[in-house]
Amino acid sequence: MESVGNLLLGFSVALTPGNLFWCFVGTFLGTVVGILPGLGPAATIAMLLPLTFKMDHTGAIIMLAGIYYGSKYGGSTTSILLNVPGESASVVTCLDGYQMARQGRAGPALGISAIASFVAGTVGVLGLMLVAPPLARFALRFGPPEYFALMALGLAMVVFLAGQSMIKGLLAMLVGLWLAGVGTDLFTAESRFTFGHMELLDGIDFVVVSIGIFAVAEVMINMESRGGTELFKIPKGLRNLMPTLQDLKDCRFAFLNGSIVGFLIGVLPGAGSTISSFLSYGVEKAFSRHPEKFGTGVIEGVAAPEGANNSDIGGSMVPLLTLGIPGSNTTAILLAALILWGFKPGPLLIQDNPGMFWGLVASMYIGNIMLLVLNLPLVPLFAQILRVPYFVLYPGILGISIVGVYSVSNSLFDVWLLGLFGLLGYAMRKLDFPAAPLVLGMVLGDGMERALRQSLMMSEGHLSILVSRPLSASMLILALLIVIMPMVNKVRSFKMKAVEQEV
């Protein structure tokens, strides 16, 4: 088979000492970057670009790619231990991961995160290798109506995230959608809700909102009682530091789910990895035998999104390497790097540079293994962070939050916003408003509005375009079903109760 031959070529390139070294450097840096909230792989790659000019190009792209997928491994660490989302895609991990940490299961959470990332990341690379060209062509069939339907499907996930009160969940989602709209309107260049502040012209950064609502609010909750609440049970013994065999068995479906959902969403240019983590969480919950336990510390709730945001990377490389179209912010920078080095990314990149492409693919396999080896032993180490006395931890978390937010755009205005969202998050916690729908609304709001308006631009105002195309119609119907399901269930249980009462 051609692929096998190519892969062998790839390994022969990737297994040279030089490239192995760069792979290690990249994955290590990526892990560190991922652990730190705010500073993302995109910014790190940009910072390292000038250094890469003097390097061998294959080694350079291997290193940069290593940073990219390495960061997804690290991103879960602060989410699980401190409820501080390390990266936008790690927000979903906070939901169950942090709860697991509170129950003394931080070790298994971190461990399963690494393992799921490994499994899904490998599947992602496999996908990249085997189905890249036909999948890329399929992805081209996604026009604005399909993207809108996809976002609607994502928003339908609010059903799974709302918890007790659907009304509050919807309200939170709407607020999130509004937050997404703050800034400059793409189509008419009009500014909305900027209150005259130039800093808001580009909208509110997602990191600011998520760190504020999760991390700062969490610290505030803990400040309520002196000495903190008995939160962090220190895991004792090696058994508690790693996922058990039972855990691994429980996550079988999650591994599959995360890998496939993540990869498919990643292929679509413009659909971020945050969407893939939310969707896979929703899928996991939908197919779970104990959906009501999600949000209280269910290990599949960590495995699915963590897997998704890794295989997503393999997916986002598909349009980059087959069509020269970046699938996300970070791939856009990888593309820029390739251009700066003199390559011409496009449909013929693979043909012209088989050594580099397949070397890169092979290095991603190797990189995933390196990361697993790197991260698993670190799990007990990281879990020890929970031993730190709370009065040291809380200022530390606040400090990390400020650093994380400031590192995004070096703007003090953003730090002020952080304070504001911290207060908002605290209020939401006290008033029982779920945070996840707000985050979901914020992530999808932009893309959804854009997709809808683009679709209407295309159809000159006729909404029918959304349902006249098979792909978008089917996704919209699915979204509708998801939203209606709980209501049907309620009616059914209501009827059953009525029947029981009669009997």
Binding site: F142, G143, P144, A189, M198, P326, A336, G346, P347, M458
Partner: protein, 327 residues
């Protein structure tokens, strides 16, 4: 006490003379790394351009200090321009401007800094653009497309960036000149624009030639018009709009360098000198060729006139486009 006065007077006059006498003409030399401000994030057009130039300048040794790129993205060019305005008089900061720096303040009230507040140094290139369609499209020339649009007004679609960007402005002036009408769909990223063209969701787009090059080589795209005064050397068979009978002004996409306000004249001269030398280097000429940029070196009063003319032209076109012009 009384005796001090004459001495005081002499002292003060000496100081006054000292301040007003012409300083020694010691040429300015940068003493620390230069900050190059761009308005896009990492990976954006200006970012890549600035990085490439910084790299080339290092190689050709046209500058004694390192240049590192600072990304100040936000509000189009608003954040970058405000940042430069704050660095008043700073001799170690420069900005890489594009046409957006001219148009953005015209339409955005919050963008309080206009291009006239900053110190222009030099214009480096004009980025040409071409009109591209999918390879299997029935339109073999711009005329075909226009005819198609006339037959089905509002049915054909073009993908592009912001509605105040060049892509749309080209569409608007062409629509006005030919009477054809077609729809514009905004996509924030170049990748999405290309994806939608290749996926058949839109029929046409305006694209930079080097971006199109690869897709053409792969057989996915076809170029039907060149949006320049003269034919492009890389596309000798592609006629310009004018040649195809569509008489519209060429909307330039310029890239150049400017400095913060209040920068002393000798610093401006230094930069002009640097870019004078740089523009003559072989590395630069090669870069121009590779990226199919038009060498449009311009400085001094001619540059000032170019910016003024561009501002007037943009204001006109934007008003006609129905965009809200606030300045």
């Amino acid at each position: 006490m009384k005796r001090i006065w004459p001495y005081l007077l002499i002292g003060l006059s000496a100081m006054a003379l000292d301040v007003t006498r012409p300083t020694n003409a010691v040429a300015f030399e940068p003493t620390k790394p230069i900050e190059a401000v761009v308005h896009t994030g990492p990976g954006g057009g200006s970012d890549i351009f600035a990085r490439a130039i910084a790299e080339l300048m290092q190689k050709e040794k046209t500058i004694s200090q390192r240049m590192h790129v600072v990304n100040k993205s936000g509000g189009g060019s608003a954040v970058a321009m405000a940042y430069l305005a704050e660095k008043k008089g700073d001799t170690h900061t420069i900005g890489f401007f594009t046409g957006v720096w001219v148009t953005n303040p015209l339409t955005t009230a919050e963008a309080k800094v206009t291009i006239n507040d900053l110190t222009p140094i030099v214009r480096l290139v004009l980025e040409p653009a071409v009109v591209a369609v999918k390879a299997d499209s029935p339109y073999k020339s711009m005329k075909d497309f226009i005819d198609g649009a006339k037959k089905n007004p509002g049915q054909l679609k073009q993908s592009g960036g912001s509605v105040t960007g060049r892509d749309n402005l080209v569409r608007l002036v062409t629509q006005k000149a030919t009477g054809a009408k077609w729809v514009y769909v905004s996509f924030p990223s170049g990748g999405e624009r290309i994806a939608n063209l290749l996926g058949g969701h839109v029929q046409m787009m305006v694209i930079e030639p080097q971006e199109a090059g690869e897709h053409i080589r792969a057989g996915n795209m076809r170029v039907i018009a060149a949006l320049t005064e003269k034919r492009l050397p890389s596309f000798p068979d592609v006629p310009t709009l004018k040649e195809q009978g569509i008489d519209v002004p060429v909307i330039p996409q310029a890239r150049g360098i400017l400095a913060p306000p209040g920068v002393p004249k000798d610093v401006v001269q230094y930069w002009e000198g640097v870019f004078d030398r740089f523009a003559k280097t072989a590395g630069w000429k090669q870069y121009l060729e590779q990226n199919q940029f038009e060498d449009a070196y311009l400085k001094g009063p001619a540059l000032g006139k170019f910016i003024d003319d561009l501002t007037v032209q943009m204001r006109e076109v934007l008003k006609e486009a129905g965009a809200k012009v606030v300045r």
